[in-house]
Each structure stands twice: as structure tokens, then as C-alpha cells.
């Protein structure tokens, strides 16, 4: 298949792997964070770690939209959904995220009208078709999905659709990266920058990572060869003692971002003073809400939202996993009490969550597998 197979070529992967291995300084350990959950998914789905030398560890970052939603926000959303005449709409990934009393799926099974959509525009369509209902879109995601929410609100305003609103949970990536860089728990050598977010915000916002923290960033695409090549570029920077922002995903990411998308966000949304991230706590200026001009579309103003704050279950270590301090399997409840079927933590829900990726794709001990292969070869 064109535009896919070229980026999954095993021969090219072997060649890159050899170049990466050659750049490793003997005795040095490298920790590289892939910020975006989409990368985590690709890494596990294609078994990419098989190509990396032992001295390189990939640390899974916070860029998973579903993973960072705190339990209280899910409870608020379910509360909204159960108001009279409300149709709640949401991306599929959100459906199984646990709130304190259950997920959207559970609420749906109990009779609440919650519908899965592929785009906020589908929500608007539902609003048009059901003028006697109040349709709420549960907006989640980083700068990647914020423009589509913004465009939908602009269209709703232009068409004068009054029964549509947004429960806005959009977050921004840079404060999260900064929180990780400021965290004393973790020393990272470099970052694979989030490709999809960067199509919107461009590469400039990461400049502080190189300038202030001396860490290289390579904005990476989502096919396995993109990621291997980006790791190679990072290793080359480290070997040469450079810390720069590079754009591996230049076929999609413009250096200055997408102005139209940024304008749409700027027109309809504004920064919240602070927002709670699952596991990371409150981070200032890290999330968006509807702007005053578009307050008529803000579900948090149209409805009485309880604003419940629910502490994560003590045993759940999503925060440590999101920050990359713990590997998924190092969490105490990983795979026993917390599974994709009955997730306690959000990292186990989304296909982009590190725990789900490891559980579904990586749940085998690679060193042991390699050992066994050696033994069987004699």
C-alpha cells in the first residue's frame, strides 16, 4: 500500500538500527521520551524496540489525550450527560475511561444518551437533527484536536445552532513537557516531539527545551521508520554534543505551524488559569476553555457542573507512568487489578496509553524471548 509500506520497510529499519547502535557510547545509558501517545502505540504495535540496543530506553510521555483526563472530569461529563434532554457525544476512546462511578459505557448501559462520534462535526449534525435536545460535545485532546472543536463552534455560531455546546477539556502540550523537565525524578537525554500537535503549533514552541534545558528535540512522524530515523537524529545530536530542534516530520509539519488552525483556536478558546491533569496534578495555563465571545457554547456555563474532584485510587500509579518515572509493568496493579477490560487507570484505557500498549502488544519479556531463542538455537 503506497504511503504506508515505504515507512515500514524492514531492510531500511535494519540499516538505521545499525547506524543508531554505532552512535551509542560504550557504557552510556540513553533515555529518550516519546512525548506523544501515538508514538507509544506505533513503537509497541510494530515491535520497534527490537531494533534498539539495550542502552537506549524509550520513556513514554504524557501526550495521550485520554490518559490525562482526571476522574472528576469524567464524573462531571456523566453528570452533564444525565441532565434532561441532553445527548452527550464523544470520541470512542473516551467511552471506557473510568470515572469514580463507572465509565460512559456504563452510563450508556444505564440509559444515558451518550453517542460516539468520529468528529465534532458529527455532534453538530446530531444537534441539527434533534432541535428539541441539547447536544454536548466532550472535547478532549491536545492542540491536534482543538482546531476541529474550534471550527465546529465557529460553524455552529455561523448557522445559529443554539442547542450545541462543548464540554471543553482541551489541553496544551508545552506546559506538560515543562513540568516533566522540572520534575526531579527523571533525567532524559532527549525528546521525540509530538508530530500531530506540531502540525498545528509548529516547532518553535519547543525551542526553550534546547535553549533552557540543553535537550535535543526531534519532531517525529508516526510510521515506525519515522520514529527510528528520529531516534537516529537524536543520537547524532547527542554524539555531536548538540541540542537543537529538528523536524523529521517535515512532510506534514510546517516549522511555523498552521496559522488558520491557531487562529480558530485563538478566536474561540482561551487559556484556563490552571487545569488538573491526571497523575500530574494542577498545571497552570495548561488547558483551554471557551472564550467569552463564545460563552454561549460553553457547557460548563450552560449547565451546573458539580466540579467534582476525585483523588486517584492510591494503588494507581498513572502519574508516575505518565511522567515516565515508572515503566507500565512497574505499577503495582498493572495487569492484575488494572487491565484493559477493567481499567483503574487511564493509561490502561486508550490505545495510546503506555499501559494499554504494553499490555496489548508488549506483554512479553524481550530479553527472555531472546535468551530462549539463543538456547533453542543451541
Amino acid at each position: 500500500m503506497r504511503f504506508v509500506d515505504e515507512f515500514r520497510d524492514a531492510d531500511k529499519a535494519h540499516a538505521l538500527a545499525a547506524k543508531i547502535a554505532a552512535l551509542c557510547e560504550p557504557g552510556r545509558q540513553y533515555k529518550i521520551m516519546e512525548v506523544c501517545g501515538g508514538h507509544t502505540h506505533t513503537i509497541y504495535k510494530h515491535g520497534l524496540e527490537d531494533y534498539l540496543p539495550e542502552s537506549i530506553t524509550l520513556v513514554h510521555g504524557p501526550g495521550c489525550p485520554v490518559c490525562v483526563i482526571p476522574m472528576g472530569r469524567v464524573d462531571d461529563a456523566i453528570h452533564l450527560a444525565s441532565q434532561p434532554d441532553v445527548i452527550m457525544t464523544s470520541f470512542g476512546d473516551m467511552m471506557r475511561v473510568p470515572g469514580s462511578q463507572g465509565s460512559f459505557f456504563d452510563a450508556k448501559a444505564a440509559g444515558t444518551d451518550i453517542r460516539m462520534v468520529y468528529s465534532p462535526l458529527d455532534s453538530l449534525k446530531i444537534a441539527r437533527k434533534n432541535p428539541d435536545k441539547r447536544v454536548v460535545f466532550m472535547a478532549i485532546g491536545f492542540e491536534t484536536t482543538a482546531p476541529s472543536t474550534a471550527m465546529t463552534v465557529l460553524r455552529a455560531a455561523a448557522e445559529g445552532i443554539e442547542n450545541f455546546s462543548v464540554f471543553c477539556n482541551h489541553v496544551t502540550i508545552v506546559p506538560a513537557i515543562k513540568a516533566i523537565l522540572d520534575s526531579p525524578d527523571l533525567r532524559l537525554d532527549g525528546f521525540l516531539g509530538p508530530g500531530h500537535v506540531s502540525t498545528v503549533i509548529g516547532c518553535r514552541p519547543y525551542e526553550f527545551i534546547a535553549r533552557d534545558y540543553g535537550r535535543p528535540v526531534v519532531v517525529a512522524g508516526f510510521e515506525p521508520l519515522d520514529i527510528l530515523q528520529s531516534i537516529y537524529q537524536l543520537m547524532l545530536q547527542l554524539a555531536e554534543g548538540r541540542a537543537e530542534i529538528e523536524n523529521q516530520y517535515s512532510r506534514v509539519v510546517p516549522w511555523n505551524g498552521n496559522l488558520v488552525a491557531l487562529q480558530a483556536i485563538g478566536q474561540t478558546m482561551e487559556l484556563r488559569p490552571y487545569f488538573e491533569w491526571r497523575g500530574l496534578g494542577f498545571i497552570s495555563h495548561s488547558a483551554l476553555k471557551m472564550s467569552e465571545q463564545y460563552a454561549a457554547f460553553d457547557a460548563e456555563l450552560l449547565f451546573k457542573v458539580p466540579g467534582v474532584r476525585v483523588a486517584d485510587p492510591k494503588a494507581c500509579q498513572c502519574g508516575e507512568v505518565l511522567k515516565g518515572v515508572l515503566k507500565p509493568w512497574e505499577c503495582k496493579v498493572f495487569g492484575t487489578a488494572c487491565t484493559p477490560e477493567t481499567p483503574i487507570g487511564t493509561c490502561m484505557v486508550s490505545p495510546e496509553g503506555a499501559c494499554a500498549a504494553y499490555y496489548n502488544f508488549g506483554r512479553m519479556n524481550r530479553e527472555r524471548v531472546a535468551e530462549a531463542a539463543e538456547v533453542s538455537r543451541g
Binding site: G47, L48, Y118, M364
Partner: protein, 399 residues
Amino acid sequence: MTTGSTGGWIAEALREHDHASEQEPEVQPEQRPSPRGRRELPIADREQQVLDRIDRARRRRARVREERITMSHGAGGKATQTLIEAVFLDAFGNPLLAELEDAARLAVGGARLALTTDSFVVSPLFFPGGDIGDLAVNGTVNDLAVSGATPLYLSAGFILEEGFPVADLTRITASMREAAAAAGVQVVTGDTKVVERGKADGCYINTAGVGLLERDVPLGVAQARPGDAIIVSGPVGDHGVTIMLARGELDIESDVESDTAPLAGLVAALLDAVPGVRAMRDATRGGVATILNEIAKAADVGVVVSEDDIPVRDEVRGAAELLGIDPMYVACEGRLVAVVDGAAAEQAVAALRSHPLGAEATVVGRITAEQPGLVRLKTAFGGTRIVDLLVGDPLPRIC
């Protein structure tokens, strides 16, 4: 801002987890004791301990945690299996049912029979390549066929919604008649119920089928053993992708058609030619990946498959790629997965290819003794990963 607490279910899950951990033998490091104890274990060993613990957790008796049925319980993946084991097996448990094969095998008055049933709730009712009618016939025929039986008689039960067009019903029955004729079966009994408007989505069909077991071959996924080959009879995922696209919600157009077809002839061709057939399954809900997991679990063997070898049409791959789903989990309605003696693999592929429905049959993997219970995939990219049962419906990624 108020503060809430988590509901009972999390506390319960954790209690259960603690209880189970207490009963587990503590794995001792196989090395000299160190003052800092287990922290000194090499990382690979610590990871292995966790993996072993997960393995034990997965082998524990299934239990339904939800208070109500959710859509996941019908998706054919993990939740469906839990529901079957915890509710239905618990209620009806008997040795014939416990085999959990596609059809029950019975001995009645000297004859060996296979009995199966299936309900059809597909939406839309009509789609490229077929409709709910031929699906309802082929689905039950195939469950009998892959059990090694010659399908003979079917029942048909209709649940119709008030207001459903009679023209649509006759269109459905006409395609049932044609499908039955093609499969060499007769619909010999039936039932009709009508429910009020809004209480059903047009038309649901249940079919049950009886077949005659003429061959003395002990078929079953528990028969798989190391060295066996795994074969699929053709490209996978056509049906599921067709249905998803036919719903028209995705604005993707493609020429892909459902593969719905009766498999009895193809099965006969295989069983006639190859003595070493261990098991067959038709890859419906949950797709090929689910069957591979069923094999690994039932026979307690490892399964290794190669992504490059799994046939998927370009149209299906393209649509699946756009939707963020894996064709290995997408339903087929005219494909089977066979486990055969490794030595007979070529012969089996040749036999399948001699039949029009098996023209693209191919070996996709093998059974191993290593890593029992796990399905491992050699990815096209050259890495390795596991293929697990699916949780919930295939949902597309959002970023």
C-alpha cells in the same frame, strides 16, 4: 469544588488483587541474597515476575464486574468470553457445552450430530455482497461445517419490528432460500415474533442448524500441538470493513464486498485431502486474532504468526489503516482458520486452493511450545509483539 470518592468497584478490584497476591508463592530471586533484597533483581527478572503474575491473573476464573450489559459484551472479545464463562457456562455447564466449539457434537441414537445456533442483528440489513438473510444461513452452516459436520437442516426465527416493510422481508427470505440451496440445506422450522415500533431495529434473525458428523476426526482447538501449521483460507476482514463502510458514517468509499459464503464444500475438500487436520474455526466476530487466542488458550500452546503472510486486500487494509483498526480483528463471514499437522501444511494449502473459496489460502503461522497461552506476531516491520483478545469494539484512535 467538591471532593468525591471512587465507587465500590475499584476497591473491590484491589481487594481481589491483594487476596490473590497473598495466595501466590513469592518468587525468590535465584541469586545470592543482597542487603537490599528484591530491588537487586535484574530488570528482566523483575519484569518476568510481573508477567508471571499477570499470567496467573488471566488464568483465574472469569467474573463479570459490570452491573449491566455493555456493548463490549457483544463484541466477541474479552468481555464476551468473560460473560460466556461467568454467566452461561455457570448456568448451563455440561461437558458438551464446556468444549466451547462452534457447534456441540452429540451422539443420538447411533448417529453423531452437530448442533449450533446463531443470531443476526447486522446493521444495515442490506450491504454490498449480501444481506442479513444469506448471513443468517451461512453463519450457521459454517459453524456446522468447521465442526466437521455436513450441514443438513436449519431453523429460522424472525423478530420483526412493527412497520418493517414486507418487501424487505421477502427480499431477505429470497436470499435465505438461495443461500440454503447453495449450501445444500433446508430451512425446516421457524418462528415469527413482532415487537412494537422502536423495540427492535427492523429485523433480527436467529438460525439453528443440525449437521451429520460422518467423519471420525477429533477436531477441536484443544488438539493443536507444537509444530502444527496455521492456515487461513483467504483475505481477512472483508465483511467487517464492508459493514462499517455501508453504514455511511465514515464518508469512505470503496469497492469492498462482504465475503459471506457457505464453507461446507471447502471444509470437505480439506478433510478429504488431509488426515492431519486438528481444528477449524470460521473467523467471524473478533476476526482471526480472536481465533488464534482461542487456540493458544484451549491447547495451552504458543502461537506465532507473521504479519507479512496474513492476506488482506488493499482496500481493506487502507480502510482499516484510516480507521485505526487492525484487520486481524475484523470479522469475516466466509473464511476459515485451520490448524493442521505441520507435515501436511502444503498438502492442506493445495487442497484449499483447489476450491474457489480457498483460492488464496496460505500458511500464516505455527504452533510452538514456547510461551504457552500467548499469540506472538512477527510484524511486517521486523519486530515482535503479542496479539491479545480485543477489549471492546475496535475504536479508532483520535490523534
